[in-house]
Subunit: 205 residues, 2 copies
């Protein structure tokens, strides 16, 4: 259904909302009409939060995680292990790993992964700052926590090749059958990797 919107203001709002990922014109119209029915403060708070976010957001100068301060909470924490550096694609991955409570080291956010098809090369990743950290800080292990895709693997190999010269231990997160998953439903690559990379039974936690 083509939507014929009777107001420029509404049309503008629908156009802008429908630029968001996963939001089509019908959804955008529904959202805009919802905002019109709400208290005026709601639309104002949303509009200002969006503008404020984009204009004033800052990134940690050390790890590139999002932060309201010059250096993020994780980089500033004295209780975290400075020797282990986890390399991730974006801040969502930091949040996901933090939620597991299984990692107590530092992070480095690449901001992107290598994808020649999309024209994303090494210069588009936060790599120079990574190499500076590896030179200056006392890092003994880099843990690659990258997506399990062709791009993720390519990025991992590229970084690993550069890290070799620093004489730093390189590890990667385990790929295998998810906890609670049935073997019969796992894809064969994952199942194959979980067999190739099997670990001593008693080390399983």
């Amino acid at each position: 259904m083509e939507i014929n919107i009777p107001s420029r203001l509404l049309d503008d709002a629908v156009n802008e909302l429908s630029r968001l990922p996963g939001v089509g014109r019908k959804t955008a119209l529904r959202l805009a009409l919802h905002l019109l029915n709400e208290d005026p403060g709601t639309a104002k708070a949303l509009g200002n939060a969006i503008i404020d976010l984009r204009e004033n957001i800052r990134y940690c100068r050390k790890c590139h995680n999002i932060s309201d301060t010059d250096q993020c909470r994780i980089c500033s924490s004295p209780s975290r292990k400075q020797e282990v550096l986890c390399i991730v694609r974006d801040i969502r991955d930091v949040m996901a790993i933090e939620n597991t409570s299984s990692f107590n080291g530092m992070y480095h956010v690449l901001g992107n992964i290598l994808s020649p098809m999309d024209g994303i090369g090494p210069q588009d990743l936060n790599l120079q700052s990574l190499f500076r950290r590896l030179e200056k800080e006392n890092i003994q292990e880099t843990l690659l926590a990258l997506p399990s895709t062709v791009e993720g693997d390519t990025t991992g190999h590229y970084i690993a090749k550069q890290i070799i010269k620093y004489d730093i231990n390189i590890t990667t997160i385990a790929r295998g059958i998810g906890v609670g998953d049935e073997l019969e439903y796992a894809d064969e690559v994952t199942l194959g990797r979980s067999i190739t990379n099997r670990i001593p039974f008693e080390s399983e936690k």
Copy 2:
């Protein structure tokens, strides 16, 4: 997954975005991070469009449709039939009917439908202005185009009872099997109504 957001600005934006209908916290975070990756102008345009919409939107003083002018395009058009008034719940219904090109009369937008369960009574609908129009304008037919729900039916009956005294023809949109639908998949109420309200074969267009 509980999301632990490392920035107040990002947290604010996620909170505001997740107030939108159908947007949970994970989606809100995805939208906020999308805005961070886009050009700064995109977030600014979206934020301003939302604020502008809520602050400056105007409604047609005659039919309550959304309009950038005092009187909407439909109410101002000399080519529309002034004698037929279509009563709808909200402006989405106006847009949907306009898209059919099957109606060339005027509209009256109620803004709501009666719903005692939600505390929505006659005072919450644009009824006083409707009755004023019925008194002053030369309206010969009111077409009720309300949702086919308990609330829609209640609203229709309430309005019809009030309109009787104006000696105006009251019609309602036909309920029946959708064009292109199979009979076997229709619910029995709809199918039943389509039989009760059957029409002469030659009048079907």
